[in-house]
Amino acid sequence: MNKLYQQKWLIAFALPGFLFFLVFAYLPMYGVVISFQDFDVFKGVFRSDFVGFDNFKTLFDMPDFNNALKNTILISALKMILLFPATVVFALMINEISTGWFRKFVQTTSYLPYFVSWVIAAGIWYKLLSIDGGVVNDLLVSLGILKEPFYFLADKDAFYPIILFTEAWKNMGFSAIIFIASLSAIDVQQYEAARVDGASRFRQIWHISLPGIKNTIVLMFILNASNLLKAGQDQLWTMSNVTVQQKAEILDTLVLRYLKDMGLTGYSIGTAMGIFQAFIGLVLFIVCNYLAKAAKSDSII
């Protein structure tokens, strides 16, 4: 008791944190029991009737859910397959700039978009791609590439390319930081030796830069893979509209729709969706972390 009294200030400092996590992290975790209930707001989480796995059965039979699951994996995989290598190439290109101020300029501008919200990013690209007076359409029409303005954001086939492009615009510069940092750790003497031997710039990149950051690449790729069921809620919610909804609906946005549109009747199903996502996410996370650890220890040898 005396010890507790001696540590009264430490306890007082930690108490708000303890309560914070209790209320805003652990209480919602308990709330997942909703997915096993026929949730009734008036009865609340503690007194609603339990129905076992019924909600999950309903869930797997829902066309909306299956479509959202398909879209989530597709969008997420496209981002990984196309944008991940692009980020590495971008970092390699930045690394090849030898003029200090220019390099700093490119880097600084490249992560500017990362710091604005997707709401703003969406607003900007809606304007740039719009049919009346959008710069992109104006330019394409005046160059004769397009006959008439093309409604980019309301075209189903253009939607994924636009999602990939805007994602690259917003996040590529920032994601490249880690590769740039790891490139700067490579010993300069290796490049000098290669140059003396007459290696071209491409060969230097291929034989020195890339192997030098191989471990970082593997590690980042594995860590990214654990987010396969996170396709980008903010982006897809802000950039989608009724015409492309079929292709834009991902698990995150579907859950949000269950909360907003379905209201009380959708709570149990919506929570079940969230649990499904969290469960698969956790499995992916454990597997990927295991792989990452293996890759790490591999690199030490």
Binding site: A25, V106, S117, A122, A181, G274
Partner: protein, 293 residues
């Protein structure tokens, strides 16, 4: 890197591509800025690419005439200030307690904060809890659920662990309690890292649209991001345009499109002003973030 390297074809092509990339990154912001500063009716003619053709503040005037938007900016400002100050103080307090090796609850509290990094209740259970607590349609929902973040506690904890122990020891010998140790010695010494955490959480609060969207059914509790989102997704901007039309005796002075642009600018500027200060901390933060797993 050696200084003298002749400008070869490789460097030229690479430089050009990088210049193009930088252009694609900034130009959209610049474009929105010039459209917002151009006379709205003139802007309708199109062909605005590189500079303002006919300068005018009409769009900004229209925004500040609309009380709805002013109100949203006030709420945003409130959450940025309150949310950031409280977040920083509580993070420092919690991290400080965790660095004291003799603290009895240290181990328990470390796990207590780490577990929520990997598990969470998800959107709907969280909503039900917020509803239970009376936080739905309550401005405190902008502040309370973001009082602490495990990641920021970790950053601060590793910083505090590296402070020289002798400083605190001598204060303890002089009879300082943990309370005065924290306020007089630890807090002033950690200003740089506290500033970093403050900038990150401040930018988060400014940019967050999810809380307003999820927990506020009453639109006059929305933040600027929420109003902006609605304006982008619907034709809300034409209402603002028509309000200002009524004001000036049925003569249209602004258009929906150009008001949108001005709103985008006002909502973007604070972040753009702040972010150069954040820049030098990115790499460290990214490194910390990627090894946490």
């Amino acid at each position: 890197m050696e200084k003298k390297r002749k400008l070869d074809a490789f460097a030229a092509v690479n430089g050009l591509l990088m210049l193009l990339f930088a252009f694609v990154c900034i130009y959209p912001f610049y474009y929105v800025l010039i459209v917002s500063l151009n006379d709205p009716l003139d802007a309708q003619r199109g062909g605005l690419y590189l500079w303002v053709r006919s300068f005018s503040f009409e769009n900004y005037k229209a925004i500040f005439k609309t009380s709805e938007l002013l109100n949203a900016y006030q709420i945003t400002l409130f959450r940025v200030v309150a949310g950031t100050v409280l977040h920083v103080v509580l993070t420092a307090m919690f991290a400080f307690a965790l660095t004291k090796k003799h603290f009895v609850f240290r181990k328990f509290l470390t796990w207590w904060m780490l577990i929520p990094m990997y598990f969470s209740g998800g959107i709907i259970p969280t909503y039900v809890v917020m509803d239970m607590l009376g936080l739905v349609n309550n401005v405190m929902v902008y502040v309370l659920p973001h009082l602490l973040a495990t990641f920021h506690i970790l950053i601060l904890r590793s910083y505090l662990n590296e402070l020289p122990a002798a400083l605190e020891e001598s204060a303890v010998i002089d009879g300082a309690s943990d309370f005065s140790l924290f306020w007089r010695i630890v807090l002033p010494l950690s200003t740089p890292v506290l500033a970093t955490v403050a900038l990150f959480i401040g930018v988060f609060h400014w940019n967050d649209w999810f809380s307003g969207f999820t927990y506020m059914t009453s639109e006059h509790l929305w933040t600027a991001q929420n109003v902006l989102l609605k304006i982008i997704q619907t034709n809300e901007a034409s209402n603002i345009a028509s309000i200002s039309k009524m004001d000036s005796g049925f003569k249209a002075t602004v258009t929906a499109e150009s008001v949108k642009m001005a709103m985008l600018v006002i909502t973007t500027v604070p972040v753009i002003v702040v972010y150069p200060f954040l820049q030098k901390y990115f790499v460290k933060g990214m490194m910390l973030g990627s090894v946490k797993g």
